[in-house]
Amino acid sequence: MAILEAENISKSFGKAEVLKDVTFSLEQGHALAIIGSSGSGKTTLLRCLNFLERPDGGVIRVKGEVLFDTNDPSTQSEAQIRKKRLHFGLVFQSFNLFPQYTALQNITLASELLAKEQNKKDPGKDNKRIDLKEIKEKALVLLDQMGLADKAGLHPYQLSGGQQQRVAIARALALEPDILCFDEPTSALDPELTGEVLRVIRSLAEKKTTMTIVTHEMAFARDVADEVIFLDDGVIVERGKAVDVIENPQQERTRQFLSRFSQD
């Protein structure tokens, strides 16, 4: 069964229809790449999944549970949406690390706040209390996986863009989201720094992390993603196995788009 089902997602800003009945699903352990030209609605789609934008229409289901349904107001309260967000993680194009915290604190902050809330709600049972030390140890393991074991105590301004983005990935992973979303994770990086970030995402794919990746790195999408969606003007024009869509697109619009990347 699909872990994520998005049905007929639509979103307008004023008169501009940015997403038009976008429907797709994603299998557990799969990586889905979303490609398309600038302004086609890729970021908006990820933002809808993370509830940073409210879709005007559509249904979002995770593991069969309806998280959001425009026809069901009971799925739309602010407090509920906060909890539901935790099904998703989002890695931003511009990292958005918290500058006043170290790499380690960036990763532990949200988990600590959640744990404190949980412990307050459910005091007493000491054995069930979520341990702040465990949170820290888990964060250190994540940093190590990102190849940043020696950077735990540094602040964002002391890190390169590639290192910052890897901290941001660890921060999103710390909450163990069902689906991890990336919005052009290497677009803000100098070319020589994209490799280290793409390598990390590739290793996540090898560990069967469920992911949705908006990217302009076509070779990367072909090699790492299981499936590719080509989004054009808010409509899914083509979707299929990554190799098929990128090596052998069926639609004229996909071909035109991909021809701009033909150098790789």
Partner: protein, 220 residues
């Protein structure tokens, strides 16, 4: 020699009045300014329109005039003296006028500081499941503070010097005391008041410098 010491003591007592006005203004104007800044950023159009109008009027009127209005208007218009009588009444009126004036200036500094924080910071907090309160207190606030230290220190240094305006409603502060010696041909007390302000501003500058260094461990 004795007279010099006596005069200096009188001036020092006057400067205590300036310092009290300074501290009370900060104590009330800082939180009030934060509330006003939230008002001017409110998504409710009428709230932000009213708040912005108030800020425009208060910032548009010379502080001196505001002081006179606050002190005299209740009596002239309604025949009441809400600030109390005598010395303490005049001092209270000065505090009210200064708080209103400075809260409006501070509110614009707060607004600028809050709006200068990239929306991505809030969004990063949101996708990590944080509440609005957690985002404000754990993420935004310290970044705002770091950004507003320089403009705030300017404004606060202006405040201590502005406190001597209170003499125009006969608050018996340092400059008013010093001026009393001028008709007797004693000019030095007036000039020496500058030393009190210089020392105080020097102390403030050191304090702000220390605070800025405390926040040097990160960049925004």
């Amino acid at each position: 020699m004795d007279e010099i010491l006596v005069i200096i003591e009188i001036l020092a007592k006057g400067f205590l009045v300036n310092s009290r006005l300074f501290l009370l203004t900060l104590l009330f104007a800082l939180p009030l300014g934060l509330v006003i800044s939230f008002g001017s950023m409110s998504k409710v159009k009428s709230v932000s329109a009213v708040t912005k109008t108030i800020v425009w009027v208060v910032r548009g009127i010379p502080l001196l005039l505001l002081l006179l209005i606050i002190y005299f208007a209740p009596g002239l218009l309604w025949g009441i003296s809400p600030w109390g009588t005598g010395n303490s009444g005049r001092f209270n009126a000065a505090v009210i006028a200064f708080v209103i004036n400075y809260a409006c200036y501070f509110s614009e500094i707060f607004r600028g500081g809050i709006q200068s924080i990239p929306i991505g910071q809030t969004e990063a907090g949101q996708v990590l499941g944080m509440t609005k309160g957690q985002i404000f207190f754990k993420i935004t606030l310290l970044q705002v503070i770091k950004r507003i230290v320089p403009p705030m220190s300017n404004e606060i240094i202006t405040l201590i010097k502005d406190t001597s305006l209170a003499r125009l409603i006969s608050v018996y502060e340092i400059l008013m005391r010093a001026q009393e010696y001028a008709p007797r041909g004693l000019i030095w007390p007036l000039f020496s008041t500058g030393l009190f302000f210089l020392a105080f501003v020097g102390f403030l500058s050191l304090l702000f410098g220390w605070f800025e260094r405390k926040l040097d461990y990160f960049k925004v």
